[in-house]
Amino acid sequence: MSTPVTSNPAQEESTVDHSKIKVSPEEMEAYDQSGRKPVLLGFFIAVVWLLIGTVLGDLSSFKFDRPDLLTEQAYLTFGRIRPAHLNVMVYGWASTAMFSVSLWLMPRLCRTPLRWGNLAVIGILVWTVGLGVGIALLLAGHGDGLEWLELDRQWADPLLVIGAAMVGASVWKTLAARNVHHLYVSIWYVAASYPWFLIIFLAGNMPFYKGVESAAVNWFYAHNALGLWLTTINLGLIYYLLPKIIGRPIYSYWLSLVGFWGLALFYALNGMHHLIGGPLPSWMIATSITASIMMIVPVVAVGINQHMTVVGRFGAMRYSPALTLAVIAAMSYTAVSLQGILTALVSVNRITHFTHWTIAHSHLGLYMFVTLSLFGGMYYILPRVLKKEWPSRRLVRAHILLVGGGMVLYIVALGIGGVLQGLSLLAPGEGFEASVSSAKPWLLLRSVSAVIISAGHLVFAYHAYLLAFTSRNSLTRHPPFYELKPVLVKKRVP
């Protein structure tokens, strides 16, 4: 689902010129400023949700080590805190930050000021109110009971749909008003994500599915929410940031198109791999496993392309936090997808399903790929929109080391713990308790990592506060390369 291409001759003429004439830095600055309000609002709300989601994630993690922790009040029990964590992180943190990323990228790529910016502001607010209502209801015990679709379908979901549609309208209006003929690959990813998200979210929330079919539609939704919403906007962002910061065009523009169209054409078939072993017709599972294996094509296309763009220039990461995070995110995309393909094989899934391995996979995807990509985006975008530099490179360094290191520990611990747990669950001679004991030390490690990551989030939020609300170390001029600085090393590289 991408752009209807215009046949308007006037536009074609002006666009031919534009692809030859380079945009001036001043013009770029004007595009950045055109979306200032919604972009800043979205990032602000996203960081607030990130902090709330962190508390919920920490609590969920600690409860694995101390099951009696905070069980007196119903709203503090695992069954409510855990889905609240998922929804706050996915719809509050990631999606709201992705709104801002889209609203910042589109004017730059379409070479036109953001259209309907105020509608986008209202959209972000409506979305946030919807999510707030949904989370409050969820904690009070009212949810739809389907994973990823827990938010109340009567009071919360309609607001989410309206909010996303308003932001999407602004994105598409900007696209329609574009001054370029050829669409850069990031536009394909970002613009397509909005109709995709609206269709799957509406379809997933319909109240009339029964029994097994409800589970099937549930995972149709959740998987596409991952692949056609969370993944796509972040890939769009990475496809922009990598070449931009490195200073050379993407290695092969053709491969980037193969990646996009491969995903667009085949991703929808993947969802049923979440239900391997479930009471579904075997052809559906088999189709989905086959499609999962076929995902190797777009995944490898994206991986090779991004790697070849940066290869030989990894030293640039020392200068740029945005690039550092974008590169780790890009590598994690390849890693999580390959892990996912492995997990979709029946022989592997038999061991890993119902274990912490899946949680390791989730966070490799949603943290090391999605969240780090969004952090990278914020390091790049915020100074340009605020016209101020991040005040402290020490805080940048602390943030990246804490969240990166913490999450590696999280994923490795649960990866190992999950396999041990799965093998123990399958061992005929062992009781269920043995599987619990085998996972316990790894869960404790996860809680340690949770504390480390949370510290990283606090550092980031504090630094963003310093940047946005104080004038400490602020620079009022607008350098072209805010990122050109060795944040991760102190000395000049030879």
Partner: protein, 82 residues
């Protein structure tokens, strides 16, 4: 009852088929014709000519060959960080 989930098949087609149509529209409109300049369209004027401190001599030479002589970044702020 569930041997064929009509709903799921329709949903999958609703998501999977339109991209095929759009791919053909994009092809017909020449969207995929000019990969080189599309890939370069994200750069600002002069951006590809800035010398970059992390590049090797060979990489800088390649940059000169492709985009013309190097210019130093006209702004001063970022150098404080080196």
């Amino acid at each position: 009852m569930f041997a064929n989930s009509f709903v799921l098949i329709v949903l999958t087609l609703v998501i999977g088929l339109p991209p095929l149509v759009f791919l053909f529209i994009a092809l017909a409109a020449g969207q995929l014709d000019d990969a080189g300049s599309t890939a370069e369209s994200i750069f600002e004027a002069g951006e590809l000519r800035y010398s970059r401190p992390w590049e090797t001599q060979k990489q800088s030479q390649e940059r000169v060959q492709h985009y013309g002589s190097l210019v130093s970044n006209p702004r001063w702020e970022w150098e404080r960080w080196l």
